[in-house]
Subunit: 368 residues, 2 copies
């Protein structure tokens, strides 16, 4: 058990940004919200997955909607809290622990904010180990959790509770339609899991991992070491490519920001062209001659070539000098059951087989 | 207090169809559901508005979605019941009385089905005195009732509770978006009103009126009298026109079936052409030379010229021989406050002033 202070929030924001694999939104605003709570004396307590009591009632929270909306219409900061309260009211029970649904991107911060508001501890684990665009893509649901009752709250005090929905894709569809009506963004709270269920289905240690990645980046920057090498060491990742963005093609398709990013290599990679297929997150990295370097669910992270600052897909543009990193996905995302939901075919790339990156997720990680 | 038996259901279905003014859906399926409950011994008790205790907790129910969907995907029959239960659970209270949100069309039957399922009495009144397409168009909301919490249930056991929504137009927007995702139709239950509130805001006597209209039609048919004259006598209406449909133009616009129906007169009306502006319901009746005969919220009802069988807008077609009846709207729909919500301007006809039909709604009515 440890507490998250302002410095830890800075580390976590960088690490969560990198684990967001281009999607999940920028953690900046959430970090500011959480920091404000910490400044006013709130304590954000994190506990390890193994320490969760078997009979705990664990609630996963996260924002739903377009990250772009979250920038233009600032969140009120209590959306997820009110979603949790609506769910407690619906179920007639109180919850004991929080867990991030998604450690990658802005949703890393949401459970910390709710923790600061409620005093509930946050479990050092999550349901993705990265970012994914849809509700059915978390390990809780993949490994059998019911998708509802789920509650959503917008910045204006409006709430919605959905129940009796048998599959998470349907929940995704309903909640997405309502969220769009709510102005494009809402906080969500998902069905309580027992401690036992969480231990079997969550990706462990991901708050620590994100914080460790961020710490490694900040340490390397201040000691004039290589921040990218530091990320790779902590995350268990490999450098796939270094180069310059030369073309970005974006189109909105089925509510997603799809696109293809083309980069040309520099230095050792000077002879290589890299194509990145993007659908909110970075999904496939392949060379100009069609060799696949990495494919979802393995993490494909684009960072600034000098500082290792994470670069989300919506700000990718011509001329950026970047490094593309590959981090092996957590084991729970690589089973046949998980690959059916988060493998390349689930994103419409049925012709690309999933060939796992070698190595293991977060091998160098641990509490920062 | 009286009970609704199978014969009363037949009468009510005809009267509700006529009061539907072309919209609100066909009451046939709901009638069959309700009749089945009655056959199995359920009792549907109706009580007069004046007999409702001031501290009653009255819940208004009704189906939401496209009537066309209701024909293609048959309702399960317990959608509204489950919406009521979801709302009770959300509020932690039980309700004491039911009231139709809308007496016109299929929604006349929904509260009767719930009454058969729960044993709760139904109040002889409703929130429209006719049919309207949107949630903000009921007298409860027009005269100050909160629009939420509201609950919705689909045929598959899925439920949605919306709360904290300040205005009914927003609720309409959210619920419509979710209902479309639910396959186009759902049962709804709306915030409980006290007996006092219902007495101030409901249109009184409308279940009786619908049943009386239906009884008059059936009696006239069996005694070879004129069913249309019978409708007019009971409803307080006037015959606007008799003729033949010669053209129907339909277009989908903003989720509504908008259209213009052209008719040429027969008999005394042989020199007249009638144009009917339609948006789910019949909104404006005017002659070919632009003279307005009747305009929303007054009721414009198209019925078969011989049998007075109500004809909904979706089955209007070339060659039908029809009578067009005008029934003065209930007084509660004709105040400035109500006209702002249900007058011609609210439907996009800002250039057509509301000139009330003379007479009074349901003057000839009373328990059938």
């Amino acid at each position: 058990m440890w507490s998250i202070d302002s410095d830890a929030l800075e580390r976590l924001a960088i690490g969560a940004g990198i684990l967001g694999t281009g999607g999940g939104g920028n953690p900046y605003l959430g970090k500011v919200h959480a920091r404000e709570h910490v400044r006013r004396g709130a304590r954000i307590v994190v506990i390890g997955l193994a320490a969760v009591p078997d009979d705990a009632r664990v609630i996963s929270v996260g924002g739903m909607g377009s990250p772009t909306v979250g920038i233009e219409r600032l969140p009120q900061g209590d959306e997820c809290l009110r979603a949790v309260r609506a769910l407690e009211r619906h179920l007639g029970e109180s919850f004991t622990h929080l867990i991030p649904g998604e450690i990658g991107g802005a949703n890393a911060m949401e459970p910390l904010i709710v923790a600061a508001q409620t005093g509930l501890p946050v479990i050092d684990a999550d349901g993705m180990g990265r970012a994914f665009p849809e509700l059915q893509m978390d390990t809780f649901v993949i490994y059998g959790a019911r998708p509802t009752p789920a509650a959503f709250a917008d910045p204006f005090g409006q709430t919605m509770v959905l129940d009796g929905i048998a599959d998470a894709r349907t929940l995704e569809r309903y909640a997405r339609a309502a969220t769009i009506q709510m102005g494009g963004a809402a906080g969500g709270a998902f069905p309580p899991l027992t401690g036992t269920e969480v231990k079997h289905t969550a990706v462990p240690g991901t708050i620590s991992l994100a914080a460790a990645i961020g710490a490694a980046v900040l340490d390397a920057r201040s000691s004039l070491a290589d921040p990218i090498a530091a990320v790779l060491q902590v995350s268990g990742g490999v450098r796939l490519f270094t180069g310059k963005v030369v073309d970005v093609v974006r189109r909105m398709e089925g509510g997603f920001a799809r696109g293809v990013v083309t980069m040309v290599g520099t230095g050792d990679d000077a002879s290589i062209e890299l194509r990145l297929d993007v659908q909110n997150e970075n999904l496939i990295a392949r060379t100009g001659d069609g060799r696949v370097l990495a494919v979802v669910p393995d993490l494909i992270c684009v960072v600034d070539a000098e500082t290792a600052e994470p670069i989300t897909t919506e700000v990718l543009r011509y001329g950026l000098r970047v490094a593309v990193l590959g981090i092996p996905a957590p084991a729970l995302l690589k089973t046949p059951r998980a690959l059916a939901v988060v493998g390349p075919a689930a994103f419409g790339y049925g012709d690309v087989p999933y060939v796992p990156l070698s190595g293991a997720y977060g091998v160098g990680g641990g509490p920062a």
